[in-house]
Amino acid sequence: MTRKDYEERPQSGRNSSPAERVLFGSIGAGLIALSLGQRGQVGTLLATGGALLVAGAAMGQGLGETVTGVRRTEDDQIKVEKAITVGMGADELYTFWRNFENLPRFMDHLESVKVQDGDGQRSHWVAKAPAGTSVEWDAEITADEPGRRIAWRSLEGATVPNEGAVEFRPAPGDRGTEIHVSLTYRPPGGTLGATVARLLGEDPNVQIEHDLRRLKRLLEVGHIPTTEGQSSGRKGALKAEARMYDNRRTS
């Protein structure tokens, strides 16, 4: 991802979609209306909440996205950019990534990527979707600079149109290579859909970050550390308490 690409798709100052502004504005107005019939603390709380929602809607700062930090472009797409430094050379990393069939090894939400033709320009992607379903699409490589950069985008007919780029930059000193990933996609339901998905735990921002960390661990150490299956003095419900913290939720 170069600075130029970034400028071609500027971020919107507002982070909520028109549909969302109408929805949250209406809820806010409703709360204010409700508060009129209430006395004391309950009335004050309702009115304050309502006022916050209306103000948010008016300014285009949706509550959901403010909380979850969704970034959208001006044409209502979601954009995610993440970077990590891996202690290997750019050429090795490029080679690993250029074989797209390696991606599901560290990208948790991908079920498979199959490279379709001889020169590996086209590929078929299958990703996990909420409620045990999956989405599939075909993608093509749009830029390929060995050792430096790969870009791709989905072809016509994808349920979730998306494009991505990965750039490999030598890190200073003996630190290895910086991997910069940029993804842009249009989720079903626009940014409102993305916000709901994020609140349900499907957060591409976090996913990409964790994917990159898995890649680093896979390549630097050979596997992802785990505590799953270790001994403890936990019984029954306490096991769920530990899972709140434990890996595979947070890494």
Binding site: T85, G87, D174, R175, G176, V206, H210, R213, K216, R217, E220, V221, G222, H223, I224, P225, T226, T227, E228, G229, Q230, S231, S232, G233, R234, K235, L238, E241, A242, Y245, D246, N247, T250, S251
Partner: protein, 406 residues
């Protein structure tokens, strides 16, 4: 197997839990022959380290014998006597390659949690809450150790368990605390806290060339032990520490000051009460930084403050004006245990340091609740407890566990 399990604030118990298993090919299982309770375990006991879960096996100072290795373990063999540094190194990342093993990029399985609290995730630690990985600890009969080739260190022949046990944490921690003091010949070093880390800090400061070391504590037995290490002492309950330090150093102040106390420092006066109240809420303030404040105030102009004491989150009223205007340097960190092992083992082998001197209590694993109690409250002259996970409790009548307090 038997293991010491965290059961909530101020409650640990000894439970029968499943034996650990090899979960990944780079793991090894260690039969723990000696383990110890560390001062930083008290922060877990008291509930000031976030993300402890009921049932967590605690303990990060332990050593023993390898009884099983995973298929990718090369350097470590079944039957090796090993010590286990408390921070977990992957051995491969930039930090591990630089010897900054407590900052390993890869060994914490819960980095997201650590990043929320601290911005970036340090290494995973054994038995030290889920923010540092949620790894089961070593106050148990067996322990699963990870990245065995990078983390298990073979004990040289001729050294006893007790001689090498503290290489897993408090000896290197005291040593790094002294190294972080940036000692130059002729320097005077002040050490807040004459507990186990403070005592190793005192000994290490002399090894690194300090001319005088001044230890500050309130327990007579700890001050007495500090004197046997060659330190001058100040009892902070009886003296004005700042005035006395100034006087003892000809008005200059100590060249470097070590905070070997950490987040549960005792303090008198209004500020101490305010800290205690705020810390109790777990929200307004997570750390009581009294020793750190005192260290910053006492340190000479242009000197160095070294912080081996553990801090977890947020602390109020740090005298930044003093810190900046006096041109101080602060050096901190969980200990990069791995990088110090060769050097410190040499000191032990040559008899220049006898780590066993600080042990005041030798108990069985079954007595862990009692051990935690006397160590926390400094009852019975307790400075350091070593636990034997395999001692028969019948040979050694267990002391009844005290009732939970507070």
């Amino acid at each position: 197997m038997k293991a010491v399990v965290w059961q909530g604030v101020n409650r640990v118990s000894v439970e029968t839990v499943p034996d650990p298993q090899i979960l990944q090919p780079t793991d090894a299982i260690v039969r723990v022959t000696k383990t110890a309770i560390c001062g930083s375990d008290l922060h877990l006991l008291d509930g000031y380290v976030p993300s402890m879960v009921h049932g967590d096996i605690v303990g990060h100072e332990f050593m023993g014998e390898v009884v099983e290795v995973g298929s990718e373990v090369r350097k470590v063999k079944v039957g090796d006597r090993v010590i286990v540094p408390f921070p977990i190194a992957c051995g491969k990342c930039w930090y591990c390659q630089k010897g900054l093993t407590s900052l390993c990029d890869n060994s914490n399985p819960n980095p997201g949690l650590a990043e929320k609290f601290w911005g970036y995730s340090p290494a995973g630690l054994y038995g030290y809450s889920h923010i540092t990985g949620g790894y089961a600890g070593g106050q148990a009969q067996f322990a699963r150790t990870v990245y065995a080739d990078a983390n298990l260190f073979k004990v040289p022949d001729g050294l006893t368990d007790e001689q090498v046990l503290f290489l897993t944490d408090i000896f290197p921690t005291g040593f790094m605390g002294a190294e972080n003091c940036q000692i130059e010949p002729g320097d005077v070093v002040a050490v807040f806290g004459a507990g186990p880390v403070g005592l190793f800090g005192i000994a290490s400061a002399f090894l690194l060339g300090a001319e005088r070391v001044i230890a500050i504590d309130r327990f007579p037995e700890r001050l007495e032990m500090a004197r046997t290490y060659g330190a001058e002492t100040i009892n902070y309950e009886e003296e004005n520490v700042f005035e006395l330090l100034k006087e003892m150093t000809g008005g200059r102040g100590p060249d470097s000051v070590m905070d070997a106390v950490g987040l549960e420092a005792q303090a008198h006066g209004l500020l101490g009460v305010a800290d205690a109240v705020k810390q109790t809420t777990r929200v307004l303030e997570s750390d009581r930084p009294h020793a750190l404040r005192a260290a910053i105030m006492a340190c000479r102009k242009g000197g160095t403050v070294s912080v081996p004491g553990v801090y977890g989150g947020l602390a109020d009223k740090i005298p930044l004006g003093a810190f900046m205007n006096k041109g101080l340097t602060m050096k901190t960190g969980q200990t990069h245990v791995h990088r110090y092992l060769d050097r410190l083992t040499g000191y032990i082998q040559r008899g220049e340091i006898d780590p066993t001197r600080i042990i005041t209590h030798r108990l069985t694993l079954d007595e862990a609740p009692h051990a935690y109690h006397i160590f926390k409250h400094k009852h019975d002259g307790c400075i350091k407890c070593v636990l034997d996970p395999w001692a028969d409790p019948k040979d050694h009548e267990p002391t009844p566990a005290p009732q939970p307090q507070g």
